[in-house]
C-alpha cells in the first residue's frame, strides 16, 4: 500500500530523514516510535506530501507520489491524516467539518454527505454533537471528530501524527478506542505515537526511528520484549 524508497529530507542544513526504506501492506497497522526529533512526524508528513522530499521515492497504491506529474490532491483524497493538534475548522460545526471535503471536492450532494457524516459520528460516539462548534468540544472529542473528518473521504490509508499527545490523560483512551476499532475493520494505518500500550496491542509491526533512520523494526512482541538495537533498548527503558 505504501512503499518508501531511500527517502531523504532536509530542512536547510539539518538532515531530518537520512534514507528511509519501508513498506506497509494493505490492512496493516504500523506504529512508529522513537524519541522527539527522530524524524517520525516528518516521515508521515512526507507521505502526505505536506513536506516535499529532497531525494527518494514514495509510492501509494503503486502510484509514485513524489513524481512531479502526480496530481497530489487526488492522492491526498485517498490518504487520511490526523494531526496532533486536531486542526478542526473552527468556523464550521462538527457536521460541516466532516461534510466540507466530500461536498466541495467530490461534489457529493449535501444530503448524502450528511448521511455519511452522521454515520461516522455514530461510529466515533459523537452523534449528539453534530451541530456543535469545535470550541465546545473537549480535546478527545475534537480528535474523534478529526478522525471522522478524515474518514469521510473514504481513504485507503490513515496517517496518525501523534494523535493523543495533546490530550489530557483521561481522554487518551477514547481516541485510542476509535483507532482500535478502525484497525479491526481492516484500515491500513500508520501511527506515530508515544502510546506504547497501543503500539503493542494494536500494531502489527513497530518501527523504531532515531536520528533520521529506522533503527529497528519488527513485531511488537519482538521490539518491546526483545529489542536487538542498543538505541531501541535505551529508548524503551526510558519510556516503558
Amino acid at each position: 500500500m505504501i512503499q518508501v524508497n531511500n527517502l531523504h529530507k532536509s530542512f536547510g542544513t539539518l538532515e531530518v530523514l537520512k534514507g528511509i526504506n519501508c513498506r506497509i501492506a494493505p490492512r496493516e497497522v504500523v506504529c512508529v516510535i522513537g524519541p522527539s526529533g527522530s524524524g517520525k512526524s516528518t516521515l508521515l508528513r512526507c507521505i502526505n506530501q505536506l513536506e516535499s522530499v529532497n531525494m527518494g521515492q514514495i509510492f501509494i497504491d503503486g502510484e509514485e507520489i513524489t513524481s512531479p506529474k502526480t496530481d497530489i490532491n487526488k492522492i491526498r483524497q485517498q490518504v487520511g491524516m490526523v494531526f496532533q493538534l486536531f486542526n478542526l475548522f473552527p468556523h464550521k460545526t462538527t457536521l460541516e467539518n466532516i461534510t466540507l471535503a466530500p461536498i466541495k471536492i467530490k461534489g457529493m450532494p449535501k444530503e448524502e454527505a450528511e448521511i455519511i457524516a452522521n454515520e461516522l459520528l455514530r461510529k466515533v460516539g459523537l452523534m449528539d454533537k453534530s451541530s456543535v462548534y469545535p470550541n465546545q468540544l473537549s480535546g478527545g472529542q475534537k480528535q474523534r471528530v478529526a478522525i471522522a473528518r478524515a474518514l469521510a473521504m473514504q481513504p485507503k490509508v490513515m496517517l496518525f501524527d501523534e494523535p493523543t499527545s495533546a490530550l489530557d490523560p483521561e481522554m487518551v483512551g477514547e481516541v485510542l478506542e476509535v483507532m482500535k476499532d478502525l484497525a479491526h475493520e481492516g484500515m491500513t494505518m500508520m501511527v506515530v505515537t508515544h502510546e506504547m500500550g497501543f503500539a503493542r496491542e494494536v500494531g502489527h509491526r513497530v518501527l523504531f526511528m532515531d536520528e533520521g533512520v529506522i533503527m529497528e523494526e519488527g513485531s511488537p512482541a519482538q521490539i518491546f520484549d526483545n529489542p536487538h538495537n542498543a538505541r531501541t533498548q535505551s529508548f524503551l527503558s526510558k519510556v516503558l
Partner: protein, 237 residues
C-alpha cells in the same frame, strides 16, 4: 431678579446678538452647500473602499503567492502606493497618467481611482496579515483532505481571516474618509474644497473650518461606532 434673567436668555436680545455674529450666519446660510460636499466625500469614500477591498484582496493574495511574477507585481504596487504621499499620487494620476487613457470632464472618477489604488495597497497588507494569522494547521488539514490551495483558501482560510481583518479594515475606512480631503487639489468639490471656497468668499476661518471639522468628525464617529458594533457582534458569535 429671576424674571429679568429669563427675559435675557429667551428674549430677542440674546438671539439677535448671536445672529449678529457674521461667521455663524455664513455657516447657517451655506450649511446645505457644505453638506453636499460631505455627500461627495462619502461617495468617494464608499466607492474607493469597495474598489480598494477588491484590489487589496487580489494583491494581498498575490503577495502570498509562490508565483514570482504575481508576487513581484503585488510587491511593487504595494511599495509604490505606501511609499509615496497620496497627495503626490493624486497629482500624478490626474495630470500625468490618467489623461493618457481617458477623458474626464469632472474629477470624480480620477479621485476615486487615485484613492482606490492607494487604499488597495494598505488593504492588501491587512489581508496578507489576516491570512497569515490563521493557524498554519488549517491549511495543512484542508490540503490533507485533498483540497487545492484555492479551495482551502475559499472554504477554510478566508472565512477565518475575515474576522481577523475587520478591526484594521474599519480603521482603514476611517483613514480613507479623512484622506479624501486631498482630492480638493484636483477640484473635486468635496467637503474640504467647499470649505475652502466658502472661506475665500467670507474669510470666516474659525467658523467655516470649525464646521468642516465637526462634519468630518461626525462621519468618522459614525464609522467608529459601527465598527465597535460589528466587533461586539462578532465576539459574541
Amino acid at each position: 431678579m429671576p424674571h429679568m434673567a429669563i427675559q435675557y436668555i429667551y428674549g430677542s436680545n440674546y438671539i439677535d446678538s448671536l445672529l449678529a455674529i457674521n461667521g455663524l450666519q455664513v455657516v447657517i446660510n451655506n450649511f446645505t452647500y457644505l453638506l453636499e460636499g460631505a455627500l461627495l466625500t462619502l461617495q468617494i469614500t464608499i466607492l474607493s473602499v469597495v474598489f480598494g477591498m477588491l484590489l487589496g484582496l487580489i494583491t494581498g493574495l498575490f503577495k502570498l503567492s509562490k508565483n514570482r511574477i504575481l508576487f513581484t507585481i503585488a510587491t511593487a504596487y504595494i511599495d509604490f502606493f505606501r511609499g509615496t504621499p497620496l497627495y503626490v499620487q493624486i497629482l500624478l494620476l490626474y495630470f500625468g497618467i490618467l489623461p493618457l487613457f481617458m477623458n474626464f470632464d469632472n474629477p470624480f472618477i480620477p479621485a476615486v481611482i487615485a484613492i482606490s489604488l492607494n487604499c488597495g495597497a494598505y488593504i492588501a497588507e491587512i489581508v496578507r496579515a489576516g491570512i497569515q494569522a490563521v493557524d498554519r494547521g488549517q491549511m495543512e488539514a484542508a490540503r490533507s483532505l485533498g483540497m487545492t490551495t484555492r479551495q482551502a483558501m475559499t472554504y477554510v482560510i478566508l472565512p477565518q481571516a475575515y474576522k481577523i481583518v475587520i478591526p484594521p479594515l474599519l480603521n482603514e475606512f476611517i483613514a480613507v474618509l479623512k484622506d479624501t480631503s486631498l482630492v480638493a487639489v484636483i477640484s473635486a468639490e468635496e467637503l474640504t474644497l467647499r470649505g475652502k471656497l466658502l472661506y475665500s468668499t467670507y474669510f470666516e476661518a474659525a467658523w467655516i473650518w470649525g464646521t468642516v471639522a465637526v462634519i468630518y468628525f461626525i462621519m468618522t464617529k459614525i464609522l467608529a461606532i459601527l465598527g465597535d458594533y460589528i466587533e461586539r457582534r462578532m465576539a459574541t458569535e
